[in-house]
């Protein structure tokens, strides 16, 4: 079997979809932090999005399976620092989320780091009609990483990837 180099392994991992938001890969999500190769062992550092994210185990299993199928020996390490942030998503990734129907996260501001800081950046743009005439209906959504909004313009509820 042909040995893969680091770049090719990144490409391989980039084909694994986020189990909860399959429009983007776990690499685009920012969960894969580092890839190292020594002999036939591939060490992959991954970091959880949220501490209790139930999808992390699934992501680990998928990384392991992909590497085994490629004939490599996987070694997966969970790291916590630096803490995952939505700022690691590229503009292209954010656009994929929007097309998928999820409003992308805004840039994390310094104010967000204090609970009482005024973090009101105004309404989030609706991913369907792009109107700003929207309201936050719930801070918590169907997964740990999303909040619920409603668009008054097109009368659709929508999810936003929380700014984290």
């Amino acid at each position: 079997m042909v040995k893969l180099d680091v770049g090719e392994i990144w490409d391989l991992l980039n084909t694994i979809p986020d189990p909860e938001v399959p429009a983007i890969s776990i690499v685009e999500l920012g969960v894969v932090r580092d890839v190292r190769i020594s002999d036939n062992v591939v060490e992959v550092d991954i970091t959880p999005t949220y501490s209790g994210c139930p999808a992390l185990k699934n992501m680990e299993d998928q990384v392991r399976a992909k590497l085994l199928l490629a004939g490599m020996t996987p070694k997966i390490r969970t790291i916590y620092k630096p803490a995952w942030t939505t700022d690691w998503m590229s503009e292209g990734t954010k656009e994929k989320l929007r097309v998928y129907g999820i409003a992308p996260p805004e840039k994390v501001s310094f104010e967000n780091l204090h609970p009482f800081a005024n973090n009101d950046k105004g309404p989030v743009a609706c991913p369907f009609c792009r109107s700003f005439d929207t309201i936050l209906t719930s801070r918590f959504g169907s997964t740990a990483c999303k909040a619920l909004h409603f668009c008054n313009s097109c009368c659709q509820p929508f999810e936003q990837f929380k700014c984290h």
Binding site: Y50, S51, G52, K81, L113, P115, F116, S138, R139, G141
Partner: protein
């Protein structure tokens, strides 16, 4: 051989983990019982965050102990005298939504401050876990704080009920700042920080929201609960553990 510092680090991690786990188990009681669907989902989310935080600290404690204990051992195979959580978090939640929000708010403000300090711990793992946890806690405080204001400054009934919750919870707040020789050793080594120094800042955070909520902090509190740090708990913890630990104790080979 286990050093004194290692033993202290394990104890310290178990305190944080126990606190998050027991709080999470209480909040999870709301799953399927939330006053509205959105809050039902919110409570499950908050609980999940806290369980995740507990797992991180349990896993680190098990690495430090180095005897093959798993995170599940700490959660499911210890008795109430072994748990180091604060008494406030074990108090039953499923009686009043405002009580849950007030409890989440008091604890969250404290956890925000302690994690902010622990991000500067010279222990890399603790600092990493703190930098992860603080983001989630910040979000919880924002959510709980909004509800405290909404209920306190809401109708006559919501005001009375959340004031009653505040009065019931206040005697548990002193325990937030309790520390002993474990803390002293870790403070001396740069792994942890003085909790007593957080009190003024915690009170300022709490006062800001309590004032907005038109609520009053009881001035005649003379008695404060204590004991979690030594594993001495209220009667509620035993019942909670009996329910939480039943399955893995009854079926030790069960996997999930």
């Amino acid at each position: 051989m286990m050093t004194e510092l290692n033993t202290a680090l394990i104890e310290y991690c178990l305190r944080i983990a126990d606190n998050s786990l027991i709080h999470a188990q209480r909040i999870a009681d709301w799953t399927g019982h939330g006053p509205i669907l959105e809050e039902d989902i919110a409570m499950s989310n908050v609980s999940l965050d806290l369980i995740g935080q507990a797992r991180g600290f349990y896993t680190y404690a098990s690495q430090l102990e180095g005897n093959g204990k798993s995170e599940d051992f700490y959660a499911f195979h210890r008795g109430e005298r072994d748990f180091r959580n604060r008494l406030m978090v074990e108090q039953p939640d499923l009686k009043d939504f405002g009580f849950t929000m007030m409890k989440l708010f008091f604890n969250g403000c404290f956890d925000y401050l302690i994690f902010r300090d622990l991000m500067k711990s010279n222990d890399e793992t603790i600092s990493g876990l703190a930098s992860k946890s603080i983001k989630e806690v910040t979000y919880h405080v924002r959510h709980a704080g909004d509800w405290v204001v909404r209920l306190g400054d809401g109708t006559e009934e919501s005001h009375q009920r959340i004031q009653k919750s505040l009065n019931e919870l206040w005697p548990f707040t002193n325990e937030l700042f309790e520390q002993n020789e474990v803390d002293e050793l870790l403070i001396h080594n740069g792994a942890a920080f003085n909790k007593k120094e957080l009190k003024a800042e915690w009170e300022a955070m709490v006062n800001e929201i309590i004032t907005k909520a038109t609520l009053i902090i009881p001035s005649d509190s003379t008695y404060f609960y204590s004991g979690g740090i030594n594993g001495v708990h209220s009667e509620h913890l035993g019942f909670l553990l009996a329910e939480m630990q039943y399955l893995p104790r009854m079926y030790p080979d069960a996997i999930w």
